[in-house]
C-alpha cells in the first residue's frame, strides 16, 4: 500500500556520480538550483537542461525510475501553472468568460513549470546517487564552521540520519497496524471527515507507542556501544576529496558561469 514512494530514494548502481564526494553533490545541487533563478531568457534553461541530461546520463539511473518518483508532485505543478496562467495581469491573449490568459501569465507558467521540474529532477539526482548516511555526513562536514556558534551540528546530522532510516520502518509498521485493525472491523475509508479522523486513533496510538519503543531501544543500543555525541568521534569512511571531486567542482563552476552569462544575454 504505502511502499511505492520513491521520492528521496537511493538507487544502487555503479557510476561516476555515485562515487563523487557527497559534499560535491550537495554543493552542485545548490549551485544548479540557484542558477535556475538567474535566467532571463530560454537559452539559459536550455544550457541547464543539457547539463542536467549529461549528469543523468553519467549517473546511470534510468530516467523512467526518476520520473516515477515525480508523480506525487505533478499536482503541485498543475496548481502553480493554473494560478499563474489566469491570475497574472498584463496583455490579454485569450479570454474565456471571466478568465483571461495574458502574455505575461503564459510566460510565468512556462518558466515555473520548467524551473520546478528541473529543480525536482536536480535534487532527486542527489538523493538517488547518494546514500542517506553519506548525505548527512556531508552536511555535518560542510556545516562544521557553525560549531563555533554553538550549533549542535553533529547532533542535527545524527537526528537526520536516524529520521531517514526510520521512514521505511514506520511505513511498514503503519501498514501492519492498519491491517490488524481492519481485521478487527476498523474502517479507514468511509464516513465524513470527523469520523475518519476518529478512525485514525486505533492506528496512531499504536504507531506512536511503537515509535517510542523503537527510539528507546535504539538509544539503549547506542549507549551500549558507548555513543556519546560527536566529540572525538572518528568515521569508518571519512570524506576526503579526490582528484575527480576537484574536477567536478571545476565543471560546476564552468556550468554556472556559462549558464548565467547565456541566460542573461539580451538578444
Amino acid at each position: 500500500m504505502l511502499r511505492d514512494i520513491t521520492l528521496g530514494q537511493y538507487y544502487q548502481t555503479e557510476s561516476v556520480i555515485h562515487r563523487l564526494d557527497a559534499r560535491v553533490k550537495l554543493a552542485g545541487t545548490l549551485i544548479f538550483i540557484v542558477s535556475l533563478f538567474f535566467f532571463k531568457n530560454y537559452w539559459g534553461y536550455l544550457v541547464a537542461a543539457l547539463f542536467l541530461a549529461g549528469v543523468i546520463k553519467l549517473s546511470r539511473v534510468p530516467f523512467k525510475f526518476m520520473v516515477k518518483g515525480m508523480k506525487a508532485i505533478v499536482f503541485l505543478v498543475i496548481i502553480t501553472v493554473l494560478f499563474s496562467l489566469f491570475l497574472t495581469p498584463g496583455e490579454a491573449l485569450v479570454s474565456l468568460g471571466k478568465l483571461t490568459i495574458t502574455k505575461e501569465g503564459l510566460n510565468t507558467a512556462i518558466t515555473t513549470t520548467i524551473r520546478l521540474s528541473m529543480l525536482i529532477i536536480g535534487s532527486s539526482i542527489m538523493t538517488l546517487t547518494t546514500t542517506p548516511n553519506n548525505l548527512t555526513d556531508a552536511m555535518e562536514k560542510s556545516m562544521r564552521p557553525l560549531k563555533k556558534l554553538h550549533v549542535p551540528v553533529h547532533e542535527i546530522a545524527m537526528m537526520m540520519s536516524i529520521a531517514l532510516r526510520f521512514i521505511p520502518i514506520l511505513l511498514e509498521e503503519t501498514d501492519k497496524i492498519m491491517k490488524a485493525q481492519i481485521a478487527r472491523g476498523a474502517d479507514f475509508e468511509s464516513g465524513n471527515l470527523l469520523k475518519r479522523a476518529k478512525a485514525m486513533v486505533p492506528l496512531l496510538v499504536p504507531l506512536f507507542i511503537s515509535a517510542f519503543r523503537r527510539a528507546n531501544d535504539l538509544a539503549m543500543a547506542m549507549e551500549a556501544r558507548c555513543y556519546r555525541g560527536g566529540d572525538g568521534r572518528t568515521k569508518m569512511k571519512p570524506l576526503i576529496y579526490q582528484k575527480r571531486d576537484h574536477l567536478a567542482y571545476v565543471c560546476l563552476l564552468v556550468y554556472f558561469v556559462a549558464a548565467v552569462v547565456i541566460g542573461r544575454l539580451h538578444f
Binding site: I177, A180, I182, A183, G185, D187, P202, P206, I209
Partner: protein
C-alpha cells in the same frame, strides 16, 4: 461452511524488476472445526497465505470461496468475511490502543454495529476464554506483562465471535511457560467451541501436540498437507527446506534404529513416553 482456495497466486511488486512470487498455485480446502497448523520457513508465504483468507490481500489470480461464495465477487461483503474469519497478527499486542483492557476488547464487536449490552457481553466472554481475570478489566493494557497483553489482543479478535480463528505465530517472543499456556488455551477453545483454527508457526514442536492437520509451505507452494504423523515421516524433505520434525520424532527414530520396538505412531512427548514404557515392559 468452509474456505476453499483454488489456484491462488500472489506476486509482490508485479511488473517491477523486484517481483516476488509469494504464493504459487495454492489449492486448499479448509473444512469446519479442524485445528490446522501452517508451517514454513521465514518467507515461505505462510503469512501471505493467511492474509488472503480474510481478504486483507487480494490474490493476483485464482479464487477463494467462503461457504461456496467467491470472496472476490461483486456483491460479496468483505466486512462480513472479516468478522467471520478472525485474524490475530504476529505480536498482536502492538495493536492495543484503548485506555483499558475492556474497552480494547470491545473495539471489534463495536465495529460490527452490535448493541452496547451485546458488545460488553461478548468482550467479557472473550476475556474469560483467554483467562484474563475481571480484576484486570480496567487496567491500562500497557501495564500488563507480555503474555497478558497478547492474550488481551487475542480476546479482541475472539470477541467478534469468528467461525475461523487464524493465529500468526501466537507464541513468538514468549517464554516456554507463556507459550504452553497460550497453546493450551487455544486447544481448549477449539474443543469447547468447535472453532476452526489455523495456527501459523515455524516450529513443528509448537504445533505437533495440538493440531489435526499440518500444511507445510515452501517457496509459496504447499509442500505437504496431511495429518501430523504422515508429514513427520518426510523428515529428510523437511530438513532440506530448513524445517525439522519435532524432537521426539528423532528420539523415536534413533530408538528404532537401535532395535527398540517403539512403533511409528508417536508424535507428541506423551505418546512417545507411553510407547517407550510399553516397549520396556514387553
Amino acid at each position: 461452511m468452509a474456505i476453499e482456495l483454488e489456484h491462488v497466486n500472489f506476486i509482490y511488486g508485479e511488473d517491477t524488476p523486484l517481483a516476488v512470487k509469494a504464493l504459487d498455485d495454492v489449492n486448499l480446502m479448509i473444512p469446519d472445526g479442524q485445528f490446522i497448523g501452517i508451517i514454513g520457513h521465514t518467507g515461505s508465504g505462510k503469512s501471505t497465505l493467511v492474509q488472503h483468507l480474510n481478504g486483507l490481500m487480494k490474490a493476483t489470480s485464482g479464487d477463494i470461496r467462503y461457504n461456496g461464495e467467491s470472496i472476490y465477487g461483486k456483491d460479496f461483503e468483505m466486512r462480513k468475511l472479516r468478522s467471520k474469519v478472525g485474524l490475530v497478527f504476529q505480536y498482536p499486542e502492538h495493536q492495543l490502543f484503548e485506555i483499558d483492557v475492556f474497552s480494547d476488547v470491545c473495539f471489534g464487536p463495536k465495529n460490527l454495529g452490535l448493541s452496547k449490552e451485546e458488545v460488553e457481553e461478548r468482550a467479557k466472554d472473550a476475556l474469560q476464554k483467554v483467562g484474563i481475570p475481571e480484576t484486570m478489566y480496567y487496567q491500562s493494557p500497557f501495564e500488563l506483562s507480555g503474555g497478558q497483553k497478547r492474550r488481551v489482543a487475542i480476546a479482541g479478535v475472539l470477541a467478534m465471535q469468528p467461525d475461523v480463528l487464524i493465529l500468526d505465530e501466537p507464541t513468538a517472543g514468549l517464554d516456554p511457560k507463556g507459550r504452553d499456556e497460550i497453546l493450551q488455551q487455544i486447544k481448549t477453545l477449539q474443543t469447547e467451541t468447535g472453532l476452526t483454527i489455523l495456527l501459523v508457526s515455524h516450529s513443528m514442536d509448537d504445533v505437533a501436540e495440538y493440531v489435526d492437520r499440518i500444511i507445510v509451505m515452501n517457496a509459496g507452494k504447499v509442500m505437504f498437507d496431511d495429518v501430523p504423523k504422515s508429514v513427520f515421516a518426510h523428515v529428510k524433505e523437511l530438513e532440506e527446506v530448513g524445517l525439522a520434525a519435532p524432537q521426539v520424532t528423532y528420539v523415536m527414530q534413533e530408538l528404532r534404529k537401535r532395535g527398540f520396538e517403539v512403533g511409528e505412531d508417536a508424535t507428541t512427548v506423551e505418546e512417545a513416553a507411553k510407547a517407550i514404557l510399553r516397549c520396556l515392559k514387553a
